[in-house]
Amino acid sequence: MVLAWVLLLGGALQAAALDGVIIIVNKSVTVDSISVAALKDIYTGRTTYWPDGQGVDIAVLDDQIIDKTDTALEEISGMDTSHFKTFWQRIVFSGRGQQPDRIGDVPSLVAFVASNKGAIAIVPADADLKGVKKLEVK
């Protein structure tokens, strides 16, 4: 009973986390869908390569003026923006990975994902998706 409640709550949280946002990737990424758990593995550095061996290149908005993407990033990674930044600084300066790229606005973020192999980003659901692929979240 408790487990069912936890699973139900977890599912509800997953749906709420991605309300109003979508996940976009470079067209070189071969996957078409992803689970929230797999998204978390990417945004916490546990998954650093796509199934075909291509490096995962995370891009995030530099200025947190878009509440929904900020909230979605926090829900997916389990860290607020400050902790997320510190977490990745630890990784890059210890030689264990590459820091997410910080982009100043949504159109530039979409353009970055379109032009960088392996790139992934969270954008508002109404963003112009020119040149990128949308990932379905399972």
């Binding site: 593995d41 546990r46 998954t47 650093t48 390569y49 075909d52 061996g53 291509q54 490096g55 530099d62 947190q64 389990g78 860290m79 607020d80 923006t81 400050s82 902790h83 510190t86 600084q89 630890r90 890059v92 300066f93 210890s94 030689g95 264990r96 990975g97 590459q98 820091q99 790229d101 910080r102 970055f112 032009s115 960088n116």
Partner: protein
């Protein structure tokens, strides 16, 4: 020993180069060094300058008169040349107290291959994982405090603790509802410097007629486990390692000649960690045991212990405050000897002026002198409390 002029020139060169690079705000996407179709190269770097002032004693420099001998700078690059492959390197320079001397060192230079999320290998010069901060203890932007608990993360000893030449296995094993288990197991050689913290402490322990001739490279083996619990932001860690033979060569003049003592020692350490990121809070605690087993007959084993507990709260994008309390016991058989312990209560304020510029100020109230190196700069030590103020600014990209 380098002259003041040499060190000043080095300091200026490092600061100017890093400032120029920081000003240019280089980003990986802008550096297609291998052509437009080649893999982009990701660059990051930082330069930090600190100031220390203490109400008594000289700690981490000539702090009783105010000391600027607290500089760190690093520049790294990373790229993925082939599928599942990454190459990364970082150059580093520092000067803390008399350690470092602005020597330019290759902090890490590695090739990494990740078979899958569960298993990967790194080889080359790697940063050694131990606890929350060992592999990033000189990266000011990655923490709240200017000074980490020095009983575990002594700023002077980075040449001994931080990097080794060898390799490691790493990966993360999912545990379903129990979260996941991250692991790193390493082996290789450490290369302590004659300008490093270990050398300073050895020289300070020698009699006036003694001389430190060399420090041998030494094998080191160990590992770090992290249980990433099902609770977001909560993890627990355990680390351990051994240096089977740490040896340094000394010559001591005696009437009629000289002697070369047997300084071979086995060093063993364990560290246990807990960390919790909860909303704008960070909670951390660690416990560290270090044991030395000298080979020479008649030399006593040495056991030391350090623990700390701390917290930090980020009020907004530009301001964070934190504090910790730590106790260091250099010889656990003498817990009441103020010359062997150092107890420190710290309070820090961090200001993120911009995305690439931070400023910190913190105060420490300290009892005991266990981490002061025994040298003519500290001829009298007692159990009275003393204060230390630390200020630091860092530019990073």
């Amino acid at each position: 020993m380098k002259t003041t002029k040499d060190k000043t020139i080095k300091r200026l060169a490092i600061v100017l180069v890093l400032a120029a690079i920081t000003g240019a705000r280089l980003q990986a996407a802008d550096l297609k060094l291998f052509g437009t179709n080649g893999p982009p190269v990701d660059f990051h770097g930082f330069v930090s300058q600190g100031f220390l002032y203490s109400s008594a004693y000289n700690y981490l420099g000539d702090s009783s008169h105010g000391s600027f001998k607290f500089t760190e700078a690093g520049l790294n690059a990373s790229f993925n040349p082939l599928p599942r492959t990454r190459i990364a390197a970082q150059a580093f320079s520092y000067d803390v107290d008399d350690a470092g001397q602005y020597d330019l060192v290759l902090d890490y230079a590695l090739v990494e291959y990740t078979f899958n999320d569960y298993f990967g290998v790194r080889a080359g010069r790697i940063r050694r994982p131990q606890g929350i901060y060992n592999d990033i203890q000189d990266v000011d932007v990655a923490r709240t405090f200017v000074l980490l608990p020095q009983g575990i993360y002594d700023a002077r000893w980075r040449d001994f603790y931080v990097s080794l030449d060898g390799g490691e296995f790493f990966g993360t094993i999912p545990l379903k509802q129990a979260g996941s288990l991250s692991y790193e197991f390493y082996g290789g050689m450490i290369n302590p410097s004659l300008d490093g913290g270990a050398a300073l402490e050895i020289r300070d322990s020698l009699p006036a007629s003694g001389h430190l001739d060399s420090i041998d490279s030494a094998e080191e083996f160990g590992g770090q486990l992290w249980w990433n619990t099902p609770v977001d932001g909560l993890r627990f860690g355990a680390a351990g390692g051994v240096v089977p033979v740490f040896n340094f060569n000394t010559t001591i003049q005696i009437p009629g000649g000289s002697i070369r003592p047997n300084n071979r020692t086995e060093a063993v350490f364990q560290q246990y960690s807990g960390e919790y990121f909860w909303k704008a809070w960070t909670f951390q605690t660690e416990l560290f045991f270090k044991d030395y087993y000298p080979e020479a007959a008649g030399m006593a084993d040495m056991h030391s212990l350090t623990w700390y507990a701390g917290a930090a709260y980020r009020f907004n994008k530009w301001f964070e405050a934190g504090g910790y309390y730590t106790e260091y016991y250099g010889d656990t058989s003498q817990p009441d000897n103020s010359l062997q312990y150092q107890k420190d209560a710290a309070l820090a304020l961090r200001f993120d002026v911009t995305d690439w510029w931070i400023f910190k100020i913190e105060g420490h109230y300290i009892r005991g002198t266990g981490l002061l190196q025994e040298n003519p700069d500290n001829p009298v030590q007692n159990d009275k409390g003393w204060w230390l103020i630390a200020v630091k600014t860092t530019f990073s990209f």
